[in-house]
């Protein structure tokens, strides 16, 4: 999805200014952030840029920046939901709305006692990009369990998506059967992104159950999902390992020390569920560092 496509789902007031920002900014924009009463921000290459009323952008804030009003956020939310907030009820309870083409809008504001968002004060629209062949360097390491780790915004989901496509499409040596557990619609873009010819997609919020269902029903060779985080997910993943199915998943981590601190990751590595960990750098474009589980175990008494 291009930047201009995304602006179609933003309030008219702001859309008119965003459409005319410089093309090089549009091409590299990762996020559009709207906050009530605050300037409209873009995240480009990890940096925050402020948008001004004349459609210029600058990394320095000044009071004449383009400000998003409460009505702008209301209108944007209605457009993002396609005037069907009821369809996104479960997602909004978790603070996000999944959009076409793998994009996602994080929403925050005031939640009522039932956990439902009653007023939105911030919207963060993440623009997903499908970068073909970015996961090729990781292909050789994916055949016996792989954990892709990295800080937020480092491209974990982008790399994961491409790895699924490569494995499914014979780039890994054969047309592997890949099952993707897509809890937020980001990996598959709800069917709009290319995941290869031999991929099954299971959309469920409960990743652990999704893994179990895929294992039982789809006879996959790989099971892939984003962001392992709970013990239950780890238990499901262990079942896969026992069944001879390879797991590829992601986790947040800035460094080897971070990997060491996360209990789930420690258990995954100590139980040999993954054989390699690929640590993505903060700057997109640099090569990932691939560490074997064996080396990680030796690292400071992992």
């Amino acid at each position: 999805m291009t930047f201009d496509d995304m602006t179609l789902q933003i309030a008219d007031n702001l859309k008119r200014k965003l459409l005319f920002i410089p093309d090089n900014i549009k091409q590299n924009c990762e996020e559009i952030r709207l906050r009530t009463g605050l300037p409209v921000c873009l995240t480009v290459g990890g940096k925050t840029l402020f948008v001004y009323s004349d459609s210029s952008v600058c990394d320095i804030y000044s009071p004449d920046a383009l400000i998003a009003s409460k009505d702008d956020l209301k209108e944007t939310l209605a457009l993002l939901c396609k005037h069907s907030v009821y369809l996104h009820e479960n997602e909004m309870r978790q603070g996000f709305i999944s959009l076409p083409n793998g994009c996602r809008a994080g929403v925050c504001g005031e939640f009522n006692a039932e956990g439902m968002l009653t007023s939105v004060t911030s919207i963060n629209i993440r623009i997903a990009r499908q970068i073909f062949n970015c996961a090729k360097p990781l292909l050789p390491f994916s055949k016996r369990g792989l954990l892709i780790a990295g800080p937020p915004g480092s491209g974990k989901t982008t790399v994961l998506r491409d790895l699924v496509r490569l494995l499914s499409n014979d780039d890994g040596g054969e047309y592997y059967r890949v099952a993707v557990i897509d809890s937020r619609g980001e990996i598959s873009g709800r069917g709009t992104l290319d995941l290869g010819v031999n991929t099954d997609v299971l959309r469920t919020e409960d990743k652990a159950t999704g893994v179990e269902i895929a294992l039982r029903t789809m006879y996959p060779q790989f099971i892939v999902f984003d962001e392992i985080g709970t013990l239950r997910e780890l238990q499901s993943v262990s079942q896969c390992f026992n069944a001879g199915v390879n797991i590829i998943t992601t986790a947040h981590a800035h460094s080897k020390c971070d990997l060491k601190r996360r209990e789930i990751i420690q258990k995954m590595i100590s139980h040999n569920v993954v054989s390699y960990v690929a640590l993505l750098p903060e700057n997109i474009g640099e090569n990932p560092i691939v560490i074997s589980a064996g080396d990680l175990k030796k690292y400071d008494d992992f």
Binding site: A78, C81, K82, H83, S84, V85, Y86, L87, E89, M116
Partner: protein, 152 residues
């Protein structure tokens, strides 16, 4: 001369009868349109309750027969219709203004509330039709005859 008088009488009677008929037809059309809206509301409720499709699709499917409903830039209204009263239009326009902005339970409650109000309008329109349609038609014919006789 007599023929022209008779022709004149027939023309006046027919014209007056047509006016009476058109007036009663307007009442019938109003009743039918409100009935279509009421039926469509039930279908819309099911679509939203099941939560499987977006609002635009749900409205399009539910209100297929309501051709008097105008869509402009994603907004629904019936301002252009000649048979519905201003109150009817205000009720329907208000319903469409607020729809799609809340969770399922609130939307379903909103649709139920609208359904109750439109049902009440339908009952009134039905009574109007029963009481006034025949009166207008009969009055049209009689008035035509009387005027014709008086003039001729």
């Amino acid at each position: 001369m007599m023929i022209f008088k008779l022709l004149g009488l027939v023309m006046i009677t027919v014209s007056s009868a047509i006016i009476g008929f058109l007036k009663s037809r307007s009442l019938t059309a109003r009743r039918k349109k409100i009935e279509l809206v009421y039926d469509a509301t039930g279908i819309l409720y099911e679509y939203i309750n099941q939560g499987g499709c977006e609002l635009d699709y749900a409205i399009k499917e539910a209100f297929t027969k309501c051709v008097f409903l105008q869509v402009e830039k994603g907004k629904y209204s019936c301002d252009g219709d000649r048979d519905l009263t201003d109150e009817d239009k205000a009720l329907i326009n208000d319903f469409f203004k607020g729809i799609g902005r809340s969770v399922k339970s609130v939307e379903c409650d909103r649709i139920n509330a609208f359904s109750t109000k439109i049902k009440s309008k339908l009952n009134d329109a039905q009574k109007d039709c029963e009481q006034k349609c025949k009166v207008y038609q009969t009055f049209g014919v009689c008035a035509g005859l009387i005027i014709g006789i008086l003039l001729i």
